[in-house]
């Protein structure tokens, strides 16, 4: 049986009316909660109107769980209030940091995966899950840098976070493809080692080559259709996991809604055709 959520799209204000009207089967919408932590007003009303018709997922970008500090308590409380209001199907965050020393740096920043970082990250996830009263999914980041001092492979680090905190994982296939390209590892081997049993959501997006360095440095720009190589990796993943709610991310160079929906439909068809691993083995 296909899950209630198949393929979703990031909710963009430019497409709001079409999003509200759309009745595609299995469709769901993902938003950055940071854009809806208003005290009142039209933003919350928009989100609640969408939520009245479709499932919604909250994909946080600023909890900064990989920082060497606990997540901001006031921010967490507001996130929890939003979650009570819209009852999201999934809440997710990143294996990254962005807030440090009273500054928010709007990006998902890297860190050396040390033993101490693992402990801190696990504590921060546990604290977040305590406040939200539910597990969150942690997303693998995009990498652009060779960093010294890792004690853990990323796949093992994520598996250990799952083991220690009971969190789920959000597998961003485009991030794997870009990181493998930029750091020179094998995307297939990474996915083979990924704790797929914990994956509750998949992200797909487009990327582009750096204007100066070309294909040796791919940028996770979310401004283009999904690359064929990323679709191919995705097909391999869902052949193993079975259907997992999948989000198409597009944040820049927004095309017409119909074009985004066509890309979403491609993922929807792949998911409705995918069988869980156990079933495929029978």
């Amino acid at each position: 049986m296909a899950p209630a959520l198949t393929a979703g799209l990031g909710l963009k204000p430019q497409h709001y009316d079409e999003a509200l009207r759309c009745t595609a089967p299995g469709l769901w919408w993902e938003v950055h909660p940071e854009n809806y932590l208003a005290y009142g007003g039209p933003r919350l009303a928009w989100l609640e109107a969408i939520r009245a018709r479709h499932p919604v997922a909250l994909h946080g970008v600023s909890l900064s769980l990989a920082a060497d500090a606990p997540p901001d308590a006031a921010h967490l409380a507001r996130l929890a209030a939003l979650a009570r209001r819209v009852e999201p199907a999934i809440i997710s965050e990143h294996l990254a940091w962005s807030t440090w020393g009273r500054q928010y740096l709007p990006d998902l920043l890297p860190f050396p995966r040390t033993q101490a970082a693992l402990q801190r990250h696990a504590d921060n996830i546990a604290r977040t899950q305590d406040v939200l009263q539910r597990p969150i999914a942690i997303e693998n980041p995009t990498h652009y840098l060779h960093i010294d001092g890792h004690d853990w492979l990323e796949t093992e680090f994520l598996a250990e976070l799952v083991r220690r905190t009971g969190c789920a994982l959000l597998l961003d296939v485009n991030n794997v493809y870009i990181s493998a390209n930029n750091l020179g590892f094998d995307a297939q081997a990474y996915l083979d080692a990924f704790p797929l049993h914990a994956v509750t959501e998949i992200h797909l997006a487009g990327h582009h080559a750096d204007p100066v360095h070309g294909d040796t440095l791919l940028i996770d720009s979310h401004d283009a259709p999904i690359a064929p190589a990323v679709w191919a990796l995705y097909a391999q993943v869902i052949a193993r996991t079975g259907p997992v709610p999948t989000l198409i991310e597009r944040d820049d160079q927004l095309p017409a809604f119909s074009e985004l929906l066509a890309e979403r439909d491609q993922a929807h068809h792949a998911l409705t055709a995918a069988q869980p691993e156990e079933a495929a083995c029978n």
């Binding site: 940071e34 854009n35 932590l37 208003a38 005290y39 009142g40 007003g41 039209p42 933003r43 009303a45 946080g60 970008v61 600023s62 909890l63 900064s64 920082a67 060497d68 500090a69 901001d72 921010h75 940091w97 962005s98 807030t99 440090w100 020393g101 009273r102 500054q103 928010y104 740096l105 709007p106 990006d107 920043l109 890297p110 860190f111 050396p112 040390t114 101490a116 970082a117 801190r120 990498h143 652009y144 840098l145 060779h146 960093i147 010294d148 001092g149 930029n182 750096d210 100066v212 360095h213 040796t216 440095l217 940028i219």
Partner: protein, 253 residues
């Protein structure tokens, strides 16, 4: 290396020059380091551009983004709520040397900021004409009303900031015969969306007094002190129509 040491060095190098640490130089020398720097700066500038659209229209993209980059390096966001980033941008523009030829820019930025704050503020039910009709003449002067949590008002002495802002927000062609005198604005959210209208000096003084917790009588006196010829009945009608006032015992949320 401690995680906090890594974050201290890395974060400082995002919006400023990297410190001299060898580990940081090893990162900075890789082409990928610029990706983080560009993304961080672009994120700040994009947020400012979204939050100050009228300033952007007045100065053009290139000028705006150059100014926003200077602002972002000195006043980066304090949290992830970029929808409200840039609180100090109007003050920054007031002291920004390249903006000296556009002395009204800071006042226009203040109105963009009013819009953002009005848009994001809490909901509350305003008092209306029906409420006014229910008051008795002897108790009305002693009533306390406060500004609606979404109400924002502003006065500019030197420039017609509201006339400029309004004509750009509504894509009107600025009146060539625009009278270059100070003006005021009231932004409210009586229903779903932010709306705006001109506000007299008397209206500004009245709302200031209400915000300070004074009675209607004291607020009315403040209004008439700054503008003795003000039509007070018309002012109250405007404020009620805009949904600018709530009872003091009103809950917001």
């Amino acid at each position: 290396m401690q995680l906090s040491t890594f974050q201290d060095g890395f974060s400082a190098a995002m919006l400023g020059p990297a410190t001299d640490a060898p580990w940081l130089s090893a990162l900075e020398s890789q082409p990928g380091f610029a990706v983080y720097r560009n993304t961080v700066l672009k994120g700040c500038i994009d947020a400012l551009q979204a939050n100050y659209p009228t300033v952007g229209q007045l100065v053009g993209d290139d000028w705006f983004r150059a100014a926003a980059a200077v602002f972002a390096r000195t006043q980066p966001p304090r949290n992830g709520l970029l929808v409200s980033y840039g609180e100090g941008f109007a003050d920054f523009l007031a002291g920004f040397a390249p903006a000296a030829e556009l002395p009204y820019l800071s006042a226009v930025a203040r109105l963009d900021r009013c819009w953002t704050e009005c848009h994001l503020a809490a909901n509350a039910t305003p008092v209306d004409c029906q409420w006014l009709a229910q008051q008795t003449p002897d108790t009305l002067p002693l009533v306390h009303l406060r500004p609606h949590p979404a109400a924002r008002w502003s006065w500019c002495d030197e420039h017609p900031a509201y006339a400029l802002w309004h004509s750009h927000r509504e894509v009107l062609h600025p009146n060539e015969a625009l009278e270059w005198t100070g003006d005021g604005a009231l932004l409210t959210r009586p229903r779903a969306e932010v709306v705006w209208r001109p506000l007299s000096r008397a209206g500004v003084a009245f709302l200031d007094a209400c915000a300070e917790g004074h009675t209607l009588e004291t607020a009315a006196t403040s209004a008439l002190n700054v503008e003795p010829t003000a039509d007070f009945a018309a002012l109250i009608s405007t404020l009620l129509d805009a949904g600018a006032l709530i009872p003091t015992d009103s809950r917001t949320g």
